[in-house]
């Protein structure tokens, strides 16, 4: 019955074991005894049940709405990406912007090589874009993203093996993995349209909008986007023949990277263009400047 520690001695430590309050060496000794003692196993199980009830003593605290929605969106994206194949989900009925830029990203965005196209647009550029740039997302981009996700998973496992001593790295990897998985979830659908946003700015920021038409998910990835002036922000617009719909505001990271996700149900045939404008902080009900990036469908 005993395995290095007397039964009575182990029994007296079961409460602390159930609360996970033993020091490592004592915990190991008690657990070694418990492994070979049916009486202590049953007692420990009962004490663990009691200990678990303590969680109810904490007062419930609803998450702030923005935080609640942010976590939910990431969870749903991760769960969706966790499947090999998934059923289409119900169309979203409201716009939900997940984030502006993606801090702590180790972003070498796994998209196809892009050749920037400089164009100049007049004030009437909104609807004048005629050439459709829509394409079904290439297999190469998906494979690259999958490989990167696998690499992130491996790195995450390795960081966990370090037993908490590399918490900062773990957090960073987890954040990167969640971001990547959320992005992949919106990129791998069978009906993903890709729009390349050409720039009107000589600094040539480049961007692509991925529109998962089944999930109503919009993923915007851009590079070399200059920081807007103080008090200003960028705003994404979904342009239809009758309206310019805000898809939210975003700010680039210090190195000019942007990854923005939004959910918005839009009939497939109604999109005429997507565009980015420079707006006052907080965004505008309607665009107040000419687009600095635009793509037509």
């Amino acid at each position: 019955m005993s395995d290095g520690m007397a039964h009575d001695q182990a029994r007296e430590a079961l409460e602390a074991l159930a609360l996970d309050a033993l020091d490592a060496s004592e915990r190991d000794a008690v657990m070694a005894h418990v492994a070979s003692c049916a009486i202590c196993q049953a007692e420990l199980a009962a004490l663990e049940n009691t200990a678990s009830e303590l969680a109810y003593a904490a007062t419930p605290l609803p998450l702030p709405a923005a935080q609640r929605d942010r976590i939910r969106a990431r969870l749903m994206a991760r769960a969706a990406a966790d499947h090999g194949s998934r059923e289409p989900r119900a169309a979203a009925t409201s716009l939900r912007v997940e984030s502006g830029s993606a801090p702590a990203r180790t972003d070498a965005t796994p998209l196809r090589p892009y050749t920037p196209v400089r164009r100049r647009f007049g004030p009437a550029a909104w609807m004048a874009m005629a050439a459709g740039l829509v394409a079904i997302l290439g297999v190469g981009a998906f494979l690259n993203a999958s490989r990167e996700r696998a690499a992130l998973r491996e790195a995450l496992q390795a960081a966990r093996a370090a037993n908490g001593t590399q918490l900062a790295a773990l957090d960073s990897l987890r954040s990167a993995l969640a971001t990547r998985e959320g992005m992949i979830a919106n990129l791998i659908g069978p009906q993903v349209a890709v729009m390349t946003l050409a720039s009107t700015d000589p600094a040539s920021p480049t961007g692509r909008m991925f529109w998962d038409q089944q999930r109503n998910a919009w993923t915007f990835v851009a590079h070399r986007v200059p920081m807007p002036k103080s008090g200003r922000t960028y705003q994404m617009w979904l342009v239809t023949p009758t309206a310019k719909i805000s898809a939210g505001t975003f700010m680039p990271s210090p190195d000019g990277e942007v990854m923005m996700q939004a959910t918005y149900a839009l009939p497939k045939d109604s999109l005429a263009a997507v565009a980015v404008t420079d707006e006052p902080m907080g965004g505008s009900p309607q665009p107040t400047t000419a687009p600095m990036m635009v793509a037509a469908k």
Binding site: E12, A13, E15, A16, A18, L19, D20, A21, L22, D23, A46, L47, N49, T50, A51, S52, E53, L54, A55, Y56, A57, A58, T59, P60, L61, P62, L63, Q67, R68, R70, I71, R72, R74, L75, M76, R78, A79, A80, D82, H83, R86, R89, G164, T165, L167, A168, D171, R174, A178
Partner: protein, 194 residues
Amino acid sequence: MESEDEALVRRMAAGDDQALGVLYDRWQAVVHGVVSRMLRQPDDVEDVVEETFWQAWRQASRFDRTRGAVQTWLLTIARSRALDRVRALRRRREEPLEGDDGQVVAQQAAEGDPGQDAEASERRTIVVAALSGLPPEQREALELGYFGGLSQTEIAERTGQPLGTVKTRMRLALQKLRSQLQVLGSDAGEGGSG
């Protein structure tokens, strides 16, 4: 009979991510309450809340209804993940305890109950009542261990009490809590099952 939460977990195990969303909507406030009690930094809290539900999603097929209610399973995950974070933070920064400073659990119950599941509310009422029946020093030992993530040695250092005293208090506290919960649970009838 299968409860609503059990049905959600079963659907999660089958890969229904909408069920995860519903479970999250139902229990985010309760999970957040526990995690906030153990961690102070908003980023840590947000991360642990997310990881709690993510672990529930990944381990849904392992849920065993004969071992307890879904919310107890979920709160156990939450506490475990928060505890990992508390201890990792302490190792990394050697910071003081992230959890509460021996605040009285019974006082929190008076702060109001933002409309959660009736069974969980009943459970909370019972647990808080049981805790309030403990001597303050025993309750403190329980709370420092459970919410603070402190070992008995760390509690002894923190409170200035001999280690043997801390061990005795913790042992008596959990035993008393166990018997109190049994009594209160049976008084509450089926509401005390768990």
